[in-house]
């Protein structure tokens, strides 16, 4: 035993795999510097290197790879939004996710479950009908289910919740979940193979701006310059944008979630209720993933609170009364960068070489492939592609918002 351990452990014939490279020394200049080593940053780096041959790229991450909101979301992938501009964008992301394990040769544990969004009132039933039809118009698979169909789909669901019986549901067949860590690891590994440098524990402390351009980036490991700078920092979007003198229409709130201990598989689809502010899915390990409660006031802190966890548990038990006996195994929060219209901010900033990938609130994970795909194209061509043209920062001053407030169960 011990000899086998020595033989194979030390042997050069069986070297340890170093998939994510160690952090190299910082160079003085890069063509593109990406602030933030989460899913979006890694996806952008991968697409720049793969499709546009831009390989002199550095990702600066103040903590470790994928340690922020990429590690803190509830991994829902779907396209059942309200506005056609959003539906087309998220649909592209869904398509990219479907083939991502093959694309990156890395197992995403992609699992198509379908998502059932429940309505407890006539008003919500109408908005679900709107989302279903808007999706179908854009070629996405959506349908409205009645109570009997819901019972057939999820037999364990309690349809007669006191005071708010379930009336109908929006069935989004192609919704899926995936292993969130694998998404960022896969993108980062394949990006680094193409020459991208991942700098972990490298915090951007400030930026110098001259002639409407970012000229210098100061980090805790030294200064550098860049042709183009992109910020992909989710909850800290306002803090980083402030370094270049930009004010954003973003407010940061914690979003809390939790998982129960694992039980036998009983729940294939994801179930979501906008009225109960609660969504539930069962992970591949059998844990029930329960999200997501937004804190009632702005905060840059990932602590959990009893009030919100209690509220989530109460809603989950209304939907599935028999899970009342389960214990909470883990709990956490992520800092969501909420925009007024619940849509992201992607594209150029008022500075000529500074790009934004921000305002991802509670909908960032599902957009990881598409945001990187389109932003890479935008940066390479210095022209924003049509698919993300509805989402620039200046849509607010033009009052051309993309309202998706009704398309999430997380917070209202």
């Amino acid at each position: 035993m011990v000899f086998a351990l020595l033989k194979y452990g030390i042997s050069k014939r069986y070297p340890a795999r170093q998939e994510v490279p160690l952090t190299p020394d910082l160079k003085a200049h890069y063509d593109v510097v990406i602030i933030g080593g989460g899913g979006h940053g890694a996806s952008l780096a991968y697409h720049l290197a793969k499709h546009h041959n831009i390989r002199n790229v550095a990702i600066l991450e103040k903590g470790y790879l994928g340690g922020g909101n990429t590690a803190r979301n509830t991994t829902v992938i779907r396209s059942n939004y309200t506005d056609q501009r959003s539906i087309k964008f998220y649909a592209k992301s869904l398509r990219l996710y479907e083939s991502l394990s093959n694309e990156l040769d890395y197992n995403m544990m992609y699992s198509r479950r379908g998502q059932l969004t429940l309505s407890h009132s006539d008003g919500v039933s109408r908005s679900l009908r709107l989302r279903a039809d808007a999706g179908v118009f854009c070629g996405e698979a959506n349908e409205i289910l009645d109570r009997k169909q819901i019972k057939d789909l999820v037999p364990s669901l309690n349809l007669d919740i006191k005071g708010m019986p379930i009336l109908s549901g929006l069935w989004h067949r192609n919704a899926a979940i995936a292993r969130h860590d694998a998404v960022v690891w896969g993108y980062a590994i394949r990006a680094c193979e193409r020459g991208v440098e991942l700098h972990q524990r490298t915090e951007v402390l400030g930026m110098e701006v001259a002639n409407n351009k970012v000229t210098r980036i100061r980090t805790n490991r030294g200064d550098l310059s860049a042709g183009v700078v992109v910020q992909c920092v989710a909850g800290y979007s306002s803090v980083v944008a402030k370094m270049v003198g930009l004010k954003l229409p973003i407010r940061s709130y914690p979003l809390q979630a939790m998982v129960t201990h694992p039980i036998k598989p009983f729940l294939d689809p994801m179930v979501s209720s906008t009225a109960l502010h609660c969504y539930i899915s069962q992970s591949a390990r059998g844990e029930l993933v329960i999200g997501g409660g937004s804190d009632p006031y702005e905060l840059y802190n990932t602590r959990s609170t009893l009030e919100l966890k209690e509220g989530l548990a109460a809603s989950a038990v209304e939907l599935f009364p028999f899970i009342g006996e389960l214990k909470v195994l883990r709990q956490w929060a992520g800092i969501t960068d909420m925009t007024p219209d619940y849509s992201p901010i992607m594209g150029q900033s008022p500075l000529s070489n500074y790009w934004l990938d921000a305002g991802w609130g509670t909908w960032g994970f599902k957009a990881t492939p598409a945001s990187g795909f389109f932003l890479a194209k935008a940066i390479a061509d210095n022209r924003v592609p049509e698919e993300i043209r509805p989402f620039p920062l200046d849509r607010f001053e033009r009052f051309d918002l993309v309202n998706e407030m009704g398309a999430t169960a997380a917070s209202h």
Binding site: Y236, S238, V239, K247, L248, P249, I250, R251, S252, P296, Y297, E298, L299, Y300, N301, R303, T305, L306, E307, P340, F396, E397, F399
Partner: protein, 91 residues
């Protein structure tokens, strides 16, 4: 449970309170340019640190000011709206 001290009602559970955002300077809608007006409507300082905010104790509908650290989640001070003088508004 997190406790907030209301200047009128004393220490109460924070679930009894609503936050109404940072105390900021109002602008004159008749003289503001379109850009100034849209910035006023949409943009936010979203400060990571100490902020001064409007809060309301909802059962008694009592409005007051609070200083809060948005990184540590500490409520540093609460006080009634001064009868005259500035409120410490930020832009």
């Amino acid at each position: 449970m997190k406790i907030m001290t209301c200047p009128l009602n004393g220490p109460r559970n924070i679930t009894e309170f609503q936050c109404h955002g940072e105390v900021h300077q109002h602008i004159d809608p008749t003289s503001a340019s379109d850009k100034e007006w849209s910035d006023y409507l949409w943009m936010s300082n979203n400060t990571a640190g100490v902020v001064r905010e409007w809060w309301c104790h909802t059962p008694s509908n009592f409005w007051f000011l609070a200083e809060r650290n948005t990184v540590t989640d500490e409520i540093l001070a609460t006080f009634a709206v001064p009868a005259d003088g500035p409120l410490g508004e930020v832009r």
